[in-house]
Every structure is written in C-alpha cells, then in structure tokens.
C-alpha cells in the first residue's frame, strides 16, 4: 500500500509536467457547457401554423396570446405558413382525417417535458378558437406529464456532457503523459523495474480517475448552478462514472503506448471523446433517433452511462431499454479494456525488442 501511495503521489505530481494540457482537459468541457447552454436557451420558440384561411390564422394568433405561455408570451412566436413542409421543427396543421376536423401537430425538437407542455398550451389555444366550429365534437385535452416538473434541455445537455468531461480528462491526459514517458525516455524506468506492472497501471489509472472525477464534478457543479437541477444522488453519479473513466483511461494509455508520441495520442483521445459523445446520446436519447442510429449508439459506452445517469436527474424515470443490459455492457467494456491495456503494456513496454 505504501508503494502504491508513493507511485500515486508521483503520478499526481506529474501535473507539473503538462499543466496546460491538464487545464484544457479538465476545464474545457465546463467552459463548453457554459457557452452551449447560453446558445441553447432559445428566447423565441417558433411555431409554424398551417392555416387554410388568413382570417382564421389571425384569430388563432389572438387566441395564442390569450392563452399565453408559462414563461412569457415572447417565448412562443406563431407564424402562419401556407403548407406543412416536412422539416419544420414545430408545425400545427388543421385538416380533416376521416372526415373529422383535426389539429395535427408535428415537432422535431429533442424530447423535453418543457416542449410538450408548451405544445399542449398551444393546442389549447387552437381549441379555444375552433371549438365553436367543431360543435359537439369539441376536444378536451388531458395532460399526463411524464415528469412532475419541467426540466430544461440544458439539463440533458449538461448531464450528457458529464461523461464527456470525464472521458476527455482521463483519455487525453492518460495518452499524453504515457506518450511523454516514451518521448522523454522515462519509460525505461518502468521497463527495468522489478515490481508488478499491475501496480504501475493501477497508480496511473487511479490518478486519471482523480483527474477525470475532478473534471466531471466541476461540470456537474456548473450544471447545477446554471439550471438549479442537481442529481438526486451525488454518490450514484460518481459510481456510474467510475467504470466509464476506467474505459477512458485505458483508451488513453493504449493510445500513448501505441503511438509513443504526445500529439497523436492527444488527438486520438480528443477525436474518440467527441465521437463517443456525438454518437453516444450526447444531444438526445438514442431511442429518440432512428433505429439504426440507436443500434450504433448502443455500441458506444456513453449511451449506457447516460441512460444510467438519467433517472438521477429526471425524477427516477428509467429510459434504458434494458437497464441490466446497460450495466452489463458497461462492465463488459470495462473488463475488456483493462485486459487490453495490460496486454499492450506487456507487449510494448515490457517486451524485449526482437
């Protein structure tokens, strides 16, 4: 234990060898989140209304203003359009389906309780306006909110960035420092040392774990301060991140050992972090996209992590298609990567050059 503690201390002190890389890796996701959360708070929510008659349209606009919106009338901006061209984010179309007058709504926003509530209020405006024309076929809206409170999208975005922050810190710093060991020749100390390579790797990974958790907690704190939404269990958040950080650390270390050069390993870590984030439910749950995308997304370890984090931010709501499967998948990835990093260490660092 004393030896491990000394190795870990030494690893932590190597922060001094690349302070800029450390700061970039730890702070960058938080800064990115702050910036993106500002961009993503859209002050005006445009709703395109397909209306057969301009007069009705104008009446509808008045009804919308009458109903209002929970966070101010400016938030909703109804726009009259002549057709329901697919691709518009939010479309309300009045048409007859099987002879029944119907208000058909389409929207392409990322699933959010806030969006649904706003949609319902707009629907209410339509019904206030057209109930007379519908006669005894009036429609009553029953709201069955999925969540007891509205959760802004910035929460999902921030929550999905927590694994990114952890991954980026672990993989980038792991790869960079490992490659530096080759570039500066300090790897020779590891090649000739008589202690178990498992102890050396454990110290390196533990140090990356500390760094990655620091990055993740920093982002989590920022998310909470900006949105006011906090995880229902901080401990659960950390526990879910641990296997993911192990995966990231292993990928970083492998990149460092294989490339033996700081820049390529840095780029590999960066590219894999953003690829995992984008494909792995970074902007929305995998199930909300196409079935093919969902299948691909589920191959990325980010997706099970986000599905596991989700209940702790969204009132316990479960979104994983197979919660146990997600856990097993993450565990499987973790074990596989740990085995691979040991094999790579043995074959690259410890092997005799033949």
């Amino acid at each position: 234990m004393r030896r491990f503690s000394l190795l870990l201390q030494s690893e932590v002190k190597q922060f001094l060898t690349a302070p800029v890389v450390h700061l970039i890796a730890i702070i960058q996701p938080t800064l990115m989140y702050i910036l993106m959360s500002i961009i993503m708070v859209v002050p005006t929510f445009e709703m395109r209304i397909v209306n057969p008659s301009l007069e009705i349209g104008n009446d509808f606009l008045a009804a919308v203003e009458e109903v209002g919106s929970p966070i101010g009338p400016d938030y909703i901006e109804p726009v009259l359009v002549d057709d329901a061209t697919p691709g518009y984010r939010q479309v309300v179309e009045i048409l007859k389906i099987n002879g029944i007058p119907t208000a058909l709504q389409r929207y392409g926003y990322i699933d959010s309780n806030l969006v649904k509530n706003l949609r319902n209020r707009l629907t209410a405006s339509l019904l206030v306006l057209w109930n007379i024309e519908l006669g005894d076929q009036g429609i009553t809206i029953h709201e069955y909110p999925w969540l007891p409170n509205d959760i802004p999208y910035t929460v999902y975005f921030g929550m999905a960035m927590i694994p990114l922050a952890a991954y980026l810190a672990a993989a980038m710093i792991g790869g960079y420092l490992m490659a530096q060991e080759f570039e500066s020749g300090t790897i020779l100390s590891y090649r000739l040392c008589p202690i178990s390579p498992l102890l050396i790797l454990a110290a390196k990974i533990t140090r990356l774990m500390i760094t990655a958790l620091t990055a993740a907690v920093m982002l989590y704190g920022t998310l909470g301060l900006i949105t006011g939404v906090w995880s229902s269990s901080f401990l659960a958040l950390l526990i879910i991140l641990v296997p993911f950080i192990l995966i990231a650390s292993c990928i970083g270390l492998i990149a460092g050992m294989v490339t033996r050069s700081a820049l390529p390993s840095f780029l590999i870590a960066l590219a894999s972090a953003f690829a995992f984030w984008l494909i792995g439910s970074g902007f929305g749950l995998a199930a909300g996209f196409s079935p093919v995308f969902e299948k691909i997304s589920r191959l990325i370890p980010n997706t099970p992590v986000i599905e596991m984090l989700f209940p702790y931010f969204y009132f316990g709501r479960q979104v994983a298609a197979h919660p146990l499967g997600a856990k097993l998948q993450l565990a499987g990835y973790t074990i596989a990567l740990l085995l691979i990093v040991i094999l790579v260490y043995r074959s690259i660092v410890l092997s005799k050059e033949r």
Partner: protein
C-alpha cells in the same frame, strides 16, 4: 575487489536487419570491478548494454548477470542492478527528491530506509541543497550526478553507466569520476560505456575495445598500452621536414602522419632510449622547435588495431 563474476557474456550476437550490431561478443566482469566498453559512436556499446540489461534479445549466445539468466530470471536481476542511460531520463519538471521517490517506489524493496538513503546519496553527489529544485534547472553534470544517485538508491550490486560524462563540463566530469570510484571502493560493480579515452583510462580496471560490434582488444588499460611496444613521437620543425621516410630511415618507425605542415607524428620503437640520437638526426638540417615522446594512449591502441583513430 570481491571474488566472482558479476556478469558473463558468452558469444553474443545481435543483428538489426543486415547490420551486425554486436558480433560474437564475449567477456566477463568481476565483482567490484569498473569495466569499460570503449569504442567510437556506433561501435555497439549501447547495444551491448541493452543486451546485458535484457532490453534487447540476443540472436545468439547467452548472458548471465549475478548468476541469473537475463532472459528467464529478469526480475531477480532487476532488483540488483542500476542503470544510468546515455540520455538522462529524469522527470524534468519534478524536483530531485520527487524523482528519487518515484524511483524508490519502482525499485526499492525496503521503503522504510529510503529516506535516509536519499539524504546520504544527495549529500554524496552534492545535491542536497538543491533537492527541492526542479531538475530542469540543473546543469548537465548535476543531472548526471542525480541520475547516478537514483541508480544507487535501491543499493544495486551492479551499475550500468552509459557515457557517464557525455555533455558534462570538466569540473563535473572529475566529480562524477570520483563518485564512481568511491562507489567501487564500497564494493559496487560498474559497467561503463564511453568513447572518451581519458575516462576509460582513468576509471576502468579493465576494458574491451569495440569496433563494428566486435571486441578487438580486452585487458587493463595499462596492458593494452604496453602491448603496443611503440612510443608516440611528435616533432615541430622549421623548415618542415620534406621527406620524413628519408629522415627517419635509421629508426624503426610506423604510422607517420603530418597533423600540421610543420609537425610530424609517428610511432617509434624504444623512443625513450633513442630520444637524444633522434634529436641529433633531426637537428642536422632542421631547427627542432619541440619534441614530445609519449607512451601510447588508448586512442593509439585503437589506431593500432583498426587503422583509424577512435575519434574518427
């Protein structure tokens, strides 16, 4: 010097593609000995050390270190050896003491005694006052001394020192030589590789001269030079000697070279006893400005065996 062999290298060959880096190399190193691998750059010195350390696999032959086979008993060997590579592989941004702690965690079996040993070694290498400073602020000589202290930290029996004073100033060089000799007196065995003849001459109890991966001579520096049977004579005349062969025809000389137009250098049998006569011969038709008669150096030994100077 303690009895027994610290290292035994038997008929070791190592190729890199078509290049034979080490060719059928054999030697042993006694315990408590400073053994040198002397040769020009590319002679195979570092490859030989890497083979002994087990960093490279020999294509032929076998190597034992402290009685252990380097390929099958690597861990037993690594507990007992220290290595200072040619390029000092220290963490430049960490302090001297932090570098030593890192090494201790990797190598020292008994961590309870490490602190006292660090103080002893940092004092020994005159680095105690600078122990908290980042290594990047150290001079080349200080870095080499710290690397030596690090290699000694786990109290190894054999220390491999690749080019001990490469890039070190004169003062630092003498300090390092003194440290190595003091450690030898304390019972340590050293294997050093160098292309510095003075270093090899000063430090080594025995040495092998390598050229193109082959050992071309192996003995003590004194014996290697004594085997030459020639003294080296350098003369400075005015006017310059036009026909050295004619001038020196009465003597047994070889390898006449002209380092400068008015200077001659040649090897001559029993030059010490014939100096007066040689001066008379030269002074007949030339003004002899200076004459230097010297015992052969290791460079001359190398020249004798390979036909070219060590520094070429």
């Amino acid at each position: 010097m303690a009895h027994g062999k610290a290292i035994e290298v038997r008929s070791v060959t190592r190729n890199f593609g078509n290049l034979v880096a080490v060719d059928n190399l054999s030697f042993h190193v006694g315990r408590g000995e400073i053994f040198g691998l002397l040769g020009p750059n590319g002679a195979g010195k570092t490859t030989a050390i890497n083979l002994i350390l087990g960093l490279l696999k020999a294509h032929q032959g076998d190597i034992q270190v402290l009685g252990f086979d380097i390929n099958s008993q690597t861990r037993q060997v690594y507990h007992r050896i220290g290595y200072v590579p040619q390029e000092t592989n220290l963490y430049q941004d960490l302090s001297a003491i932090d570098n030593l702690w890192h090494h201790a965690a990797l190598y020292c079996q008994d961590l309870r005694v490490v602190k006292a040993r660090m103080e002893e070694l940092l004092n020994f290498t005159n680095l105690w006052q600078r122990r908290k400073d980042p290594v990047k602020t150290f001079s080349g000589g200080m870095k080499r001394r710290l690397a030596l202290a690090r290699a000694l930290l786990h109290d190894p029996e054999v220390i491999f020192f690749d080019e001990p004073t490469l890039g070190v100033d004169v003062q630092g060089r003498f300090a390092l030589w003194e440290h190595i000799q003091l450690q030898r007196e304390a019972g340590k065995t050293f294997v050093i590789s160098t292309n510095n003849m003075v270093e090899a001459d000063t430090l080594c109890d025995r040495l092998t001269i390598l050229d193109h991966g082959k050992a071309i001579a192996l003995d003590t520096p004194e014996n290697l030079k004594a085997d030459m049977q020639y003294d080296v004579v350098s003369i400075h005349t005015s006017p310059p000697v036009e026909d050295p062969d004619l001038l020196l025809s009465e003597y047994t000389v070889q390898n006449i070279t002209r380092p400068q137009p008015d200077k001659l250098r040649f090897e001559m049998q029993s030059a010490n006893t014939n100096t007066a006569e040689l001066i008379k011969t030269i002074s007949k038709n030339h003004q002899l400005d200076s004459i230097l008669v010297a015992r052969p150096s290791l460079d001359d030994v190398f020249l004798f065996h390979t036909g070219r100077a060590l520094r070429e």
